[in-house]
């Protein structure tokens, strides 16, 4: 058989593309997920893992609506916070630590500040202080970035580690419980501090409601307010923002405060709605939500409404990861592999947004 390539040449043509439609964005996201699934399948194959039973397990996990919703709550809160900072081109990678600080605030309120207060005082107090503490925690890297031009990626990451060790210290030292039989953890928070759950599920619906309302509010803030406009201008062109009289420090500080605060609310929800105590292993509570939220924000194209859908999807991936670990003994690292791959293929696919690639077979003599 003669190969046509010896006679003709495939010519690739690249043109600039101007407008990109919503459908195209969705298509790209879909393609990225497929590529990531494909690569994961190849990895499974090379480790002699039964790909069919693995994918069957993933599919079954996606039917687990209530568990996925439980996972979605912290993801949504963290990711809409990240949407607002990322829009300002500020890279807060510290949602993980900010979430933990929110949980610390909630534990402090419920165990020490007002353990005997009734629910209608205790629960709002936990949410408000969780938001404030975590917001203030996020302000340190914000101040360093705004006034000293210090890279916020590194400082927020470092503060994640500090938050981890702070929780471990509190749970194993000054806050160690009186009825924990030597375990390094705090006492359970009193029952009136616990968030109500939808009957028969673990869905702590007050946090879910806050998350969805917050997503809508952030959308309105970004699209329809002067501050939202300032965020978008500063994020896309800081030079132009300066000439337009936009206060750079105000944008950085305020977006970081809101972003940290929302992650803090996620922490309050995890503590008061699900775990009821801090332990010396903070990873159990934060569960990489703060990092996974980075992917949610990117996949949602920095749109808080889209983040609702995407965080549900990512919640499903986390649930599937746990299911794979339990049923097939596959390391939960596979979630991180998958997340990294989606993100890598997504930003690679971005090039298709700006350039139109077409192939043409050209006959040569």
């Amino acid at each position: 058989m003669e190969l046509p390539s010896s006679m003709s040449k495939i010519k690739m043509k690249i043109e600039k593309r101007e407008e990109v439609s919503l459908e195209f964005d969705i298509l790209l996201t879909f393609i990225s997920i497929c590529i990531a699934l494909l690569v994961v399948a190849v990895i499974f194959l090379s480790f002699r893992i039964n790909v069919f039973s693995a994918f069957e397990q993933i599919f079954i996990s996606f039917l687990d609506v209530d568990i996925i919703t439980v996972r979605m709550i912290p993801l949504l809160l963290c990711s809409i916070g990240l949407v607002i900072v990322f829009k300002a081109n500020v890279w807060n990678i510290g949602a993980e630590g900010q979430l933990l600080i929110g949980a610390v605030a909630a534990a402090w309120v419920a165990l020490f500040l007002m353990p005997n207060a009734p629910s209608y005082i205790l629960i709002p107090c936990m949410f408000i202080l969780g938001f404030l503490f975590a917001g203030i925690w996020a302000l340190l890297p914000a101040v360093l970035r705004a006034y000293f031009d210090i890279n916020e990626i590194i400082t927020t990451l470092m503060m994640n580690y500090i938050a981890y060790f702070l929780v471990a210290y509190l749970a194993s030292g000054p806050w160690i419980g009186k009825t924990v039989w030597g375990f390094k953890q705090t006492d359970l928070i009193p029952s009136q501090a616990r968030l109500p759950q939808i009957k028969g599920t673990l869905i702590h619906y007050p946090t879910l409601l806050i998350a969805i309302v917050a997503a809508v509010l952030i959308y309105i803030l970004l699209q329809y307010t002067k501050f939202g406009f300032e965020i978008r201008v500063y994020g896309s062109n800081p030079e132009a923002a300066k000439y337009a009289g936009i206060n750079e420090a105000k944008v950085i500080l305020l977006t970081m405060f809101i972003s940290g605060g929302l992650a803090g609310i996620a922490g309050v929800g995890e503590l008061a709605g699900l775990r009821y105590r801090l332990t010396a292993n903070p990873k159990g509570l934060s569960a990489d939500y703060g990092f996974t939220a980075v992917i949610v924000a990117c996949l949602a194209r920095f749109n808080p409404i889209a983040a609702i859908l995407v965080s549900y999807l990512m919640g499903g991936i986390i649930v599937a990861g746990y299911a794979l670990q339990v049923s097939l003994g596959i390391s939960r690292g596979v979630i991180n592999i998958f997340n990294g791959l989606i993100l890598l293929s997504l930003i690679s696919a971005e090039i298709l947004k700006h350039y139109k690639v077409s192939f043409k077979v050209v006959k040569s003599k």
Partner: protein, 310 residues
């Protein structure tokens, strides 16, 4: 305090710094060429896992280290491809790479958690140098990888500042459009530097498991990859200063351990110290950068798009 009592903590300092030295001087090369690789933490983690697994299975440490170098280079190649050929956002690509590397390492190392390697790299005494008081036993009674770190630091410093190749790299990082018109192949330089940085980060990761901890567990790198990215700034993108900055950080880690073992401070509190120190170090570098007006390579993190040339 006698000199002898200082030897052991300072010796430990060199051991703890070595993986960071590799990662830092590697990242300096990537950033000098204009590519910000935030995936170092993932690359180190993968290097650590692969080096451990391969060494454990084959019993050959050289093979283990080789595997880590290859894995590190390949992972960095992904970042290079996406950020150089596809002009994608380097911050997102780097973060994705970190996740991918961390995920792969826990996936690969899963069945090897808690196993132990014997001491495979014996310390080698350098004649004459090792008999210098204090300095000798601290710096010149180490294993071969530590000496590799010394030599690499000097060679990379020389290459960057005293040779034509170094000039090309710096030109590409400062002004790729001018470098392009001088006939330098921007893509080749950036690919080489990024992949080289990945190889060194893989080596740094390998050092943690096969030469220092002799074991593997998830999260064994403890953020050392992120620390390296911070130290690059503290070192003002100079390999020699990168070496010293890494030693300094190793010193802080040792001091934190000593605070715990000597004064009984809560271990979780002392564990915070190195990370808090990085924030302090960042503040210090920022004020130096403002004062001396030296800064990051001007094109760091910016894609090179030839049609944009002005």
């Amino acid at each position: 305090m006698s000199l002898e009592s200082l030897i052991s903590p300072l010796y430990e300092m060199v051991l703890l710094s070595t993986p960071i030295i590799f990662a830092t001087i590697g990242e300096i090369y990537a950033e000098r060429s204009g590519i910000l690789n935030l995936g170092i933490e993932g690359i180190m983690s993968l290097g650590a896992a692969i080096a451990f697994v391969v060494t454990y299975v084959t019993g050959n440490i050289a093979l283990g280290i080789l595997a880590a170098l290859i894995a590190g280079g390949l992972l960095a190649l992904i970042h290079a491809f996406i950020s150089i050929t596809f002009n994608a956002n380097q911050v997102i690509s780097g973060l994705a790479l970190a996740m991918l590397g961390l995920g792969l390492s826990s996936f690969i190392g899963e069945n090897y958690v808690g196993l132990r390697l014997e001491l495979l790299l014996q310390p080698i005494k350098i004649p004459l140098l090792s008999s210098i008081p204090l300095i000798g036993p601290v710096f010149f009674n180490q294993d071969i990888l530590v000496y590799t770190a010394y030599i690499l630091t000097v060679v990379l410093w020389f290459l960057l500042y005293k040779t034509k190749w170094g000039l090309y790299i710096r030109a590409v990082g400062e002004n790729p459009y001018a470098a392009d018109s001088m006939g330098i192949n921007i893509y080749a330089v950036r690919y080489l530097c990024t992949v080289f940085g990945g190889i060194l980060a893989g080596l740094g990761g390998a050092y943690i498991t096969v030469a220092y901890m002799h074991t593997w567990r998830e999260g064994i790198t403890m953020g050392k990859g992120w620390v390296a990215v911070a130290l690059v700034i503290f070192a003002f993108w100079d390999p020699l200063k990168g070496f010293l900055a890494s030693l300094f950080f190793g010193g802080i880690e040792v001091a934190a351990i000593e605070l715990y073992s000597l004064y009984g401070l809560n271990t979780h509190l002392t564990n915070m110290i190195p990370y808090a120190a990085i924030i302090v170090v960042m503040i210090f570098s920022a004020s130096e950068i403002m004062k001396k007006r030296i800064g990051a390579p001007a094109s760091l993190g910016k894609p090179f798009i030839r049609e944009k040339r002005r």
